[in-house]
Amino acid sequence: MIDVVFLLLVFFMLAARFGLDNAIPLSPAMAGGGTYEGAPRLITVGRDAVRLNGSVVAPEDLTDKLVALMPSTDAIVVLRAEEDATLQELVDVMDRLSAAGIQRVVVAE
């Protein structure tokens, strides 16, 4: 019986997935209430460059320039991926935005 119990123990130790995954909340363009306020804030993520309203910005300057366009930190920011941008690049930009306290990011097609 001890053998069986040990076997079960080892099985559960190996099968258990510890810790919950991290999650990034996502909202599609049309979901959620609230109206868009203030200047246009469109971030386009390409393979090699991030553009804010069409002009290329350095990733470090993105949040500073963006905050200047925002009436408040809970205003909506639109994020768009170009054809060749991967999800990782999109998530990197989202990370920068959330580090700057920008909560409401909408992913548009």
Partner: protein, 131 residues
Amino acid sequence: MEFGTAQQKPRAESVVPMINVVFLLLIFFLMTATIAPSEPFEVAPPESRAEDPAEASQPLFVSAEGDLVWGELKDDAAVAAISSARQNGDNLPPLTIRADRKVSGQAIARLLKRLAGAGVTQSQLIAVSVE
């Protein structure tokens, strides 16, 4: 020659405390284990600094090529099943999207739009911590 009394044989380790501990561990693992659903394909979630814990819900897998799998269902059938599951329940946790980091960002944007059309207003993207 006398060497005094023979040394006492050391007593065999008793097994009962060990069994107790093993049972305790077994019960611990039984309680904490969430049997992970097997992934239909290899998915490497994107790295992120986000630290919100994910709420448990059946994940929608997205491969690097943009294929969708939810449970046993694929692509259109998966979205249709998610849609009907959402209509039948209130207060559901956000839909978990387990996408590969190499999938194109546009595919995710299109997926979100499709899901919104299917009645999914809240979703969460699974990420792994940056090492």
